[in-house]
């Protein structure tokens, strides 16, 4: 039952927005990557694509309610000895709490849904993924921590991410906002060490770009890129 409801919601979503999804997937295919932000205003569609060294994700999400968005996504991780795991799924993200402070807002989200997964080219198996996401943002500060776990047929994978960014100026609406910061990511499929990515962030009304260089003690110089479009 826990998996059935997201599946039904996901199918309804796919049916209702088939044209938009087709267009979005066509746009995403050449990018082969994405990662989700969870703040999707109601009736808005967001395409995200992210690529970083060992991880590639693509996601298409839609704001169903002010506190609920649905997404279809694909994750691909390359682990130790080039072991590749792929997950494709439907995801619901629910805003648990939004705190309105004097300078900014803090958000707690829970997200998750069913996935189908392949590992090292074996037959695909069904499972689930989910996690928690917290962010706090002002006009000039952005921080985020998130934890995501994949559970597929006795195989587990956990990904922990933290971001901290600062904007040297508060951009007006309509201007390009520029941020500088760092992302830390730990993936249990890797050696267990934390990879650091110094990054720049630029966004305007309908587009968003993160770009950086990822490094851990084994690999350095992997390009990190995250692109989002909102429409």
């Amino acid at each position: 039952m826990g998996i059935f409801i997201p599946v039904v919601l996901g199918l309804a979503f796919v049916k209702a927005y088939l044209k938009k999804i087709g267009l979005a997937l066509a746009l995403l295919l050449p990018l082969q990557a994405s990662y989700a932000g969870l703040f999707i205003p109601k009736d808005m569609t967001m395409i995200m694509a992210m690529r970083t060294g060992e991880m590639t994700t693509t996601e298409l999400s839609y704001g169903l309610k002010p506190n609920l968005s649905m997404a279809v996504n694909h994750f691909e991780f390359t682990g130790h000895h080039d072991r590749i795991s792929r997950y494709t799924g439907v995801q619901a993200a629910y805003l648990l709490d939004r705190h309105y402070g004097s300078q900014g807002i803090a958000n707690w989200y829970v997200f998750g849904g069913p996935v189908t997964s392949t590992y090292m080219n074996a037959d695909s198996k069904n499972g689930a993924q989910g996690g928690l996401w917290f962010d706090y943002e002002t006009l000039r500060i952005y921080t985020r921590v998130s934890a995501q776990r994949f559970l597929v047929h006795q195989r587990e994978q956990s990904v922990y991410t933290a971001q901290a960014l600062w904007a040297p100026y508060a951009a007006e609406f309509g201007e390009v906002a520029s941020w500088v910061g760092v992302q830390a990511m730990r993936d249990s499929m890797q050696t267990g060490q934390t990879a650091l990515t110094p990054m720049l962030r630029f966004f305007e009304r309908s587009w968003w770009l993160d770009i950086g260089v990822k490094a851990n003690t084994e690999r350095r110089g992997d390009l990190f890129m995250n692109v989002m479009f909102l429409f």
């Binding site: 703040f39 205003p41 309105y100 402070g101 004097s102 943002e137 007006e172």
Partner: protein, 134 residues
């Protein structure tokens, strides 16, 4: 006959003036709590643009203000505005209606000493109707 034509013209002119006065354009300035990100606030702009009444839109993230001017003969209710703000994920704190031009509103907002999170702000309420917390 000449008198009748003149009377008709005067009557038509008067009625057109009164219609304009009834549905004159207005300015609406809203305080939006939580609006700190242009990427997320763009949904507000998109939905306000889609309203038939909207003429111009102004968004100021620093002062958390969304303002519109309306077209002659068109109106938009507080409920419609509140829905747009709430759907975008924010809270509508206040609505002020007036007869300002967008240039006036921009100047007011820039001169405004309002600090987000501090309710004791000062701004020009002249010729405007202010509605409290929504």
């Amino acid at each position: 006959m000449k008198k009748l034509v003149i009377q008709s013209c005067v009557l038509m002119l008067a009625s057109s003036f009164s219609l304009t006065a009834l549905a004159a354009a207005e300015s609406i300035k809203m305080r939006v709590e939580g609006m700190v990100c242009a990427f997320c606030a763009s949904s507000i702009e998109k939905k306000l643009k889609a309203l038939p009444a909207t003429s111009e839109i102004y968004i100021n993230l620093e002062k958390r203000v969304v303002a519109i001017t309306t077209k002659d003969g068109k109106a938009v209710s507080d409920d419609e505005l509140k829905k747009i703000i709430v759907d975008a994920g924010y809270q509508l704190q206040s609505v002020e209606r007036g007869k300002f031009t967008m240039a006036d509103i921009k100047n007011q907002v820039k001169a405004d000493r309002y600090k987000p999170g501090n309710e004791t702000h000062q701004h020009d309420h002249k010729d405007s109707k202010h509605h409290g917390k929504h």
